[in-house]
Symmetry: C2
Subunit: 654 residues, 2 copies
């Protein structure tokens, strides 16, 4: 019976998503020129999705067979279902983003408010589809297999999809971005987003692939993982009640998000509207949680745990904002020292990025302490659930970003005039701020989630401590801390290699297609998308395989205790690298934009050249490597938990 | 009685150092022009040392008073003595390096072999002075206060000095380097090392300050800390015998180093000579250790522990070599992609630096496992001792580097002719390879040492586990992992700020001193040295204070268990950052040099410009931030151990 609540909440969320989907779809597209550009991006995205889903299908089949043979049919089935739900959410998000961008541009003709609504409701489709499919999916799995350990399979499905979507999408988008810039802007001297550039469509597709589908899959992953971890720890602490608490609290979060989304109305300041929506959601969610705790007669400590997660999430988001906003000292200082060259820009940005890890880590530490104090290990898991419960609203604000960014590009390429472009510009700015906050939030939420997953792993595998004074655990930890830097290095090098392939292709087209540079012939956009896609998937093989194999290797050779150390080590270094890379990347980006607005010499100045280098370094930091680390951590934790009983039984060392 | 062995070994080492000191001193200086340049550098170094030691004296007095009031007279006294020994070793090393450089240049007139001997014996003075003063110092302290916990004070003295020498020296040298380059090479367009540049002497001084005094103090620090940790854990495992084993093994290492140094003879390949010396030392040391273990009738497991540390040290050194050598794929690939600009150079170098952390971490993990398997926690400490026992030879080969580097500079500035410059060039190349290996070795050794120190802390404070499933410990770890990135960011930003002061001063001199640019007037070298020195000390205040205060803060508020987590967390992230920064920095440096040798377009090409940016980013990575992390870790561990009983008694949370 209680299972009906999360199921219904998920269903309502999906229905609300569909409502917004149709609202956006029925808006007008605008001029034929706009339709043409939008069609090109849509077609490109389809090419990408087709190749990606085909590869994914093979991958999912292999993994599900392995799960079937080693663990059992139920987990394997749950895994397939989890992959499917995550893929569906990603597909819906991409689809609506590609419809909303051109419609937002067109709506901008009718003013800021209308355009904001179209853009934001486009984002809300992704947000609500993600949480709706996730919570409904979990409810369905648990209905058929009432055992949280089977739900782990669902969560692993979501995670492995997220690894593709986030890291693969990250490699795709930066391949296209760097390739387009180096040949287009630097070698051929044509402006950004110029339709003569063969990689321009790949670049536009990339924004959606990385920021909409990637971020959505990432938070889908964390959201599900936090709920599963809480279900496992809850079943230990409070038997069946403990299993339902995270589900019902998440249901409350979904309803709060829908109400929050309803209250987001454009006024003169779109950035403020988005933030207000988030704050309203937080307050309503806290209220709902209290009501749930009160009426279900649950220990009030769990309410405190939830709220501590919520507050930590906000602190982390605000920190990211401080360290990446162009009106705050870190970014301003970095922009200023750019006058002395690229090296100083890099060093300063990297340093501020390093410092920016301190407040979030303190926030996570505080949330851990408070929630444990009030509600034990289950409390830690519930603080992660509390942080992620409002993710419907968070993703809505985040997915709004790439939609209005694309809208701006379309408005420029379709020459919609100064007023309209000005409006999309304003919308875009708000999107950037929202994005910085969301990124910090996503990492913080993943941090609390993987801590809860570590506790869940210990519970399942039957270890009472992860004691670093034990040499086996310590050795595991030493291997674990190496994983995040290794993983991010492989993805960054992947971007580099793939970008070179792209550069060669773009050069080839400019050389071999007569009249292309004069605008008299059309480039072969599809070929570039093909290279970006296939290259991204190829470069993903090694890091992806490592993410699954290394924990198993550590577990089966050094044993379950060492694997505990491995997970703990990877969490500790992963959080540091993820925060550093995300924030440094955002800071470099905004320092460059600050200079481009005419400060410190503006475009073309020495400071600008230096800041461009910083931005190019920051791009794969913040869009490829940094955010994929979350997913790496959950994948490794889930693999370990799923194979826990096998490891406990068959490891070389016990 | 047994105490006489380490004492005598220390004494022999110091006497050997003095022998080489006089050998080098009695060599001829050469032409008056050479004497003039050498005098300028010597005077500059004296200015630096005077200001540094004055500040240090104040610092040492404050800390020793604090130790006296909170812990006791004996520890305070040991602390002062430890600072003194470390400072003396640093002073001797600097002094001889500044004598040996010009004499090596002069000896190069008489051929490679002679010059190599002068340079290497100059380095041997530092190497032997460091280990001699350290081991003799420990013996003296333990003779008067037969309690390993008092020896902690001696170790803390060495560590806090190392923090100044390494981080302060690192800021100094990069301030001068960057300042001289930006105004001299870029703005005024005069060559490197041009005597008209007001910062040129500061730059030369900086090489010695950072590489000789800094590396010496760093390894002095690790060397002492490893011995103290082993004494503490040994006293638990084997009572008094356990206290003497590390001292006697270290004595064996000193004798092996002296023999190894004796066998270093120049032939056509100086790089090979240095490596042979290291390998011979390793073999002899292993032999000696076996004899000690056999005749003292100690468990053979301890011998295996020692050897595992030795082997891990070599593996780590070779890894650094692989990831930073110009004839290996990582550096070559980085040089090649530089054609596509600075951003790709940075991303590629950073990625290989990230990957380079994997083998050393695996090596440390393996050494931990093997040594624990054979000899328990004491075995881990002994593997650190085993790794560091040969440090006399390691430092000799390392300190050789800056001496011949300076010799090359002096030969060029004194126009000693192509043949002589060619010889110093060859000597310098060998120095660079040795340096890369030593840096990796130093970090690996510090890694094993701080792991042993963590075990020693647990022993003293009376905790049986450092269990990351405990929220207090986990919170401590989350704060701990933030320390290394925070510390390195503050030192890098310090370099930036101080470099700006330097740049302004250099510009001022070129503007206000008439005839300077035409070479008709002399610049005010001292003013630049003054700025570099005072600025470095100023920028060091915040990170230095944090290194001492934060562990105490964590300990006294969150308690001894959280502090254990804090130390463990800082070790895990510290090792990662230190290895990444040191190796990436070395790689960028050599990628630039590879291009400057005429590859990929050579000097002035686009690839070269990009590689210069990479090198400038890498400089503070490898010379300021990366190597100081070692010291940060030992300082924090020692502070925690010294205040352990106070923390156990008075912490807010127990």
């Amino acid at each position: 019976m209680l299972l009906l609540i999360p199921f219904m909440a998920g269903l309502i969320s999906i229905m609300a998503a569909l409502y917004f989907y149709f609202y956006v779809s029925k808006q007008k597209i605008g001029t034929p020129r706009m339709e043409e550009i939008s069609d090109l991006i849509r077609r490109g995205a389809k090419t990408y999705l087709k190749i990606e889903y085909r590869t994914l299908a093979v991958f999912v089949i292999i993994i599900s067979l392995a799960l079937y043979f080693f663990i059992g049919f139920n987990v394997s089935l749950a895994y397939i279902f989890g992959s499917f739900c995550s893929a569906l959410a990603g597909f819906l998000g991409m689809d609506i983003a590609l419809k909303a961008n051109v419609r937002t541009a067109n709506a901008a003709k009718r003013g800021l408010n209308k355009a904001f609504s179209v853009g934001f409701y486009g984002g809300a489709v992704t947000g609500l589809a993600v949480v709706g499919l996730a919570l409904m999916g979990i409810s369905v799995v648990y209905y058929f297999f009432p055992d949280p350990k089977i739900v782990l399979g669902f969560s692993f499905g979501a995670s492995s999809l997220a690894l593709f979507a986030k890291a693969g999408g990250g490699i795709f988008t930066k391949t296209a971005d760097i390739g387009a810039d180096i040949v287009g802007k630097i070698e051929m001297n044509i402006p950004e987003d110029d339709p003569r550039n063969p990689a321009v469509i790949a670049d536009n597709v990339g924004d959606n692939v990385g920021d909409v589908a990637g971020m959505g899959a990432d938070l889908f992953d964390s959201y599900v993982a936090s709920i599963v971890a809480a279900m496992i720890l809850g079943s230990v602490a409070l038997k069946e009640t403990g299993i339902f608490i995270p589900l019902i609290i998440s249901a409350a979060g979904i309803l709060a998000s829908i109400i929050g989304i309803y209250f987001v109305r454009a006024n003169k300041n779109p950035s403020k509207s988005l933030n207000n929506g988030t704050y309203i959601t937080c307050v309503i969610f806290a209220l709902f949680s209290f009501i749930v705790v009160y009426f279900l007669n649950i220990d009030i400590g769990i309410f405190y745990a939830i709220v501590s997660g919520l507050i930590a999430g906000i602190i982390i988001g605000l920190t990211s904002d401080y360290y990446t906003s162009a009106d705050k000292p870190p970014t301003l200082r970095t922009a200023e020292v750019s006058k002395a060259g690229a090296a100083i820009n890099i060093l300063t940005g990297f340093s501020y990025g390093s410092i920016s890890v301190v407040p979030p880590l303190l926030g996570i530490a505080a949330a851990t302490l408070v929630s444990f104090y009030f509600a034990g290990l289950f409390g830690i898991a519930m603080s992660a659930v509390g942080m992620l419960a409002i993710v419907g609203m968070i993703i809505s604000a985040d997915a709004y970003g790439p939609i209005v960014d694309n809208a701006k590009g379309i408005a420029e390429q379709s020459r919609l005039g100064k007023r309209v472009i000005g409006i999309t510009d304003k919308l875009d700015e708000a999107g950037n701020t929202a994005k910085a906050i969301t990124k910090g939030f996503a990492i913080g939420a993943a941090g609390l989630t993987v801590i809860a997953l570590l506790a869940a792993y210990a519970e399942i595998v039957g270890i009472k401590t992860v004691d670093l004074l034990s040499p086996l655990v310590l050795s595991g930890a030493l291997i674990g801390i190496a994983m995040p830097p290794l993983f991010s290095a492989l993805t960054i090098l992947g971007v580099g290699k793939n970008a070179f392939r792209m550069i060669n292709e773009i050069r080839r087209q400019f050389k071999e297609i007569p009249g292309l540079i004069k605008g008299k012939a059309k480039p072969d956009y599809d070929k570039c998308i093909d290279i970006a896609t296939k290259g991204a998937l190829k470069e993903l093989v090694l890091p992806g395989v490592l993410a699954i194999i290394v924990p198993l290797l550590v577990g089966f050779t050094l044993g379950k205790n060492a694997l505990g150390g491995f997970l703990a080590g990877s969490i500790l270094s992963g959080l540091t690298f993820a925060l550093l890379m995300a924030n440094a990347g955002g800071l470099w980006d905004n320092a460059k934009k600050y200079i481009e607005e005419g400060n410190l010499g503006g475009k073309g100045s020495e400071a600008h050249k230096a800041a461009v280098v910083g931005d190019m370094v920051g791009d794969p930091f913040k869009d490829t490597a940094g955010p994929s680390i979350n997913t790496l951590l959950t994948v490794m934790s889930l693999v370990s938990s799923m194979f826990a009983s096998l490891i406990a039984a068959y490891a070389l060392i016990h």
